[in-house]
């Protein structure tokens, strides 16, 4: 793992307009290296469109995307070298065997050996059927072949658009474990879009939520991203009702830092007169003490612990298709 602080992907103020419709609206997002990053959003919110722009299938109307230091816009061949991807459905050449499909993609990147092809076939669990034509494959098998093709050149960024689509529970679990291992052991950044919120919860370090082309929320699902004063357990969202939310935020951000020295991430809900942050149970009393010491009046402390699904419905307003 090289420099962890340098994001592998920087999405910079990207806007996509098709006709008069703005599909992606000024989206900015940094993906840190070695994380599994979830990309959530209701149908039609622009997940696939964002991914298409990240891999150069669509042009941005505005903004830029930098992958591994190269712009996908001006230095495509270099930027895309870092990327392995599945975009929407895993369409393969049906009249070729699974093996020939992999060979096809392997030839397009120098330095992929036959051994590597066999290795990814093993990883995808396709050993038995790899010499059959893809037209005889089931959806899940094609999805596995799609993952295999994305892994061939050991990309440092893996972009998977709904990779669990069509996989059986065992397959989903295998994929999840594999992606986590990739991120942890090889420092691969994994960017996954999915509708299966519970899946994301189990798999991701961070999730970004988009709706109608706008980034509406970014949250950490792992210990370390939230407030930690040394307590144990898993962090949960906690809401503090206070008299001056902005002042309270300032007090906490001045005192509490994550292990990397970044001020604690919190959300100010001025309307409700509250601030919300991730904290461990043991830290809640500590946080309260800090606020009180800072001259803030605390009226209530509530745990907002919810499943990601609830949070998702909450932030997206439970709307269906936009």
């Amino acid at each position: 793992m090289s420099n962890l602080s340098q994001p592998i992907v920087q999405i910079k103020e990207v806007t996509k307009r098709i006709g008069s419709k703005t599909i992606i609206d000024n989206l900015s997002l940094d993906l840190p290296q070695g994380e599994v990053f979830g990309f959530l959003g209701p149908n039609g919110s622009g997940k696939t469109t964002t991914i298409r722009m990240m891999v150069g299938l669509m042009r941005m109307s505005k903004g830029d995307i930098i992958i591994g230091g190269s712009s996908i816009r001006t230095d495509y061949e270099k930027a895309i070298r870092h990327v392995g991807a599945i975009v929407e459905n895993p369409e393969m050449y049906k009249y070729l065997t699974g093996y020939k499909n992999l060979l096809h993609y392997a030839r397009m990147v120098p330095g992929i050996s036959r051994n590597r092809i066999d290795e990814v076939i093993g990883l995808a669990g396709l050993d038995k059927r790899i010499d059959d034509k893809v037209k005889t494959y089931s959806l899940g098998m094609r999805q596995r072949l799609g993952v295999a093709q994305a892994l061939l050149h050991k990309p440092s960024l893996l972009i998977l658009d709904e990779p669990t689509n069509g996989l059986d529970p065992a397959g989903i679990r295998e994929l999840r474990d594999y992606l986590r291992r990739l991120a942890a052991e090889e420092g691969t950044t994994v960017f996954v879009s999915s509708h299966l919120l519970s899946e994301m919860e189990l798999m991701c370090d961070q999730v970004a939520i988009i709706q109608a082309g706008k980034l509406i929320d970014l949250r950490s699902l792992r210990p370390g991203g939230g407030a930690s004063v040394g307590g144990t357990g898993l962090p949960a969202q906690v809401l503090f009702e206070v008299d001056q939310p902005d002042e309270a935020a300032r007090v906490l951000q001045e005192t509490i830092r994550t292990p990397d020295g970044v001020p604690v991430r919190l959300q100010v809900r001025a309307g409700e007169g509250a601030i919300v942050l991730d904290a461990l149970r043991d830290d809640i009393a500590e946080l309260n003490a800090l606020l009180v010491a800072g001259g803030i009046r605390v009226y209530a402390i509530r745990s907002l612990s919810k499943s990601l699904e609830d949070q998702f419905l909450e932030v997206t307003g439970g709307e269906s298709v936009v």
């Binding site: 150069g56 299938l57 061949e77 393969m92 009249y95 070729l96 799609g146």
Partner: protein, 270 residues
């Protein structure tokens, strides 16, 4: 450059791993064999090898052209229709190079197809009717130039056919890149190629100077082999091979430019 060869190898694999391509090439050989054998069995008078070749070419060349046009119309559009274009493009290659690899492998297919016709007509007819050497083109192909041998005619004929094949497949290739739908691209390209003879005749009725620049008036280049110096020089009104080639070159450049522009610039939403 070696790497680019890998892209072409991929495209060739996608052409030749399909049964379709083998049926096309096989059909050209089978049809030649069938016509020759049936003719040799049923004919009352003796048939000469070159005469049969000349006759078969009139059937096989248009058929070969149709096959090449089908492959050309499908080669880009099928990637869009099947959605495979996405995985094809997200590799460390610019779109131009991906498109060029497709075009190169298409030209290879055209060369192979014409070679199959060339070899199978000559070989099968030599086997069935016996090889006949020292024949002049005047006797079998109706050429005016008395000094041209049958072999020389065959070679020039195929060279000129290659030129018009390249123009028609490039037209189909452009349609393929622009419409992105296999069915539409194949249908439209075939329609144009099949109608070109009829359209050519229709246009020749029009008495306007621009008619000389219509594509269809120039796709049949082999007619220049038959008229040749004797007649061509005396008739001022007659178009020349050079003029036809220049017009075709103009169309060719337009087809290529459009294919490249559309393929490299447009968003992929397949």
């Amino acid at each position: 450059m070696f790497d680019f060869a890998a892209l072409v190898a991929n495209e060739n694999m996608k052409i030749f791993r399909r049964v379709r391509s083998w049926i096309m090439l096989g059909l050209l050989v089978l049809l030649t064999a069938a016509i020759s054998i049936i003719a040799s069995v049923t004919a009352s008078s003796t048939i000469k090898m070159w005469d049969m070749t000349s006759m078969e070419l009139m059937i096989l060349i248009p058929l070969a052209n149709i096959f090449c046009v089908i492959i050309a119309a499908d080669i880009v559009a099928s990637e869009f229709t099947n959605g495979t274009i996405k995985l094809l493009l997200i590799r460390p290659w610019t779109r131009s190079k991906v498109l060029l690899s497709k075009y190169v492998s298409l030209l290879i297919f055209v060369l192979i197809t014409l070679a199959v016709v060339y070899v199978s007509t000559l070989l099968i007819n030599s086997l069935v009717f016996g090889y006949e050497g020292g024949v002049m083109a005047q006797q079998v192909f109706g050429v005016l130039d008395p000094g041209m041998s049958a072999w020389s005619y065959m070679n020039q004929y195929f060279l000129l056919q290659l030129v018009s094949f390249i123009v028609t497949v490039t037209l189909a290739f452009m349609i393929s890149a622009v419409f992105r739908s296999s069915a539409l691209a194949i249908g439209l390209s075939l329609f144009i190629v099949l109608m070109s003879e009829v359209l050519s005749q229709l246009f020749s009725l029009v008495n306007k100077p621009w008619v000389d620049y219509v594509l269809f008036q120039h796709l049949n280049l082999t007619k220049y082999l038959r008229m040749d110096a004797a007649l061509g020089g005396s008739n001022q009104d007659m178009m020349t091979l050079g003029f036809s080639l220049a017009v075709l070159a103009g169309y060719y450049i337009v087809f290529m430019a459009l294919s490249w522009f559309v393929f490299t610039k447009r968003d992929v939403a397949a």
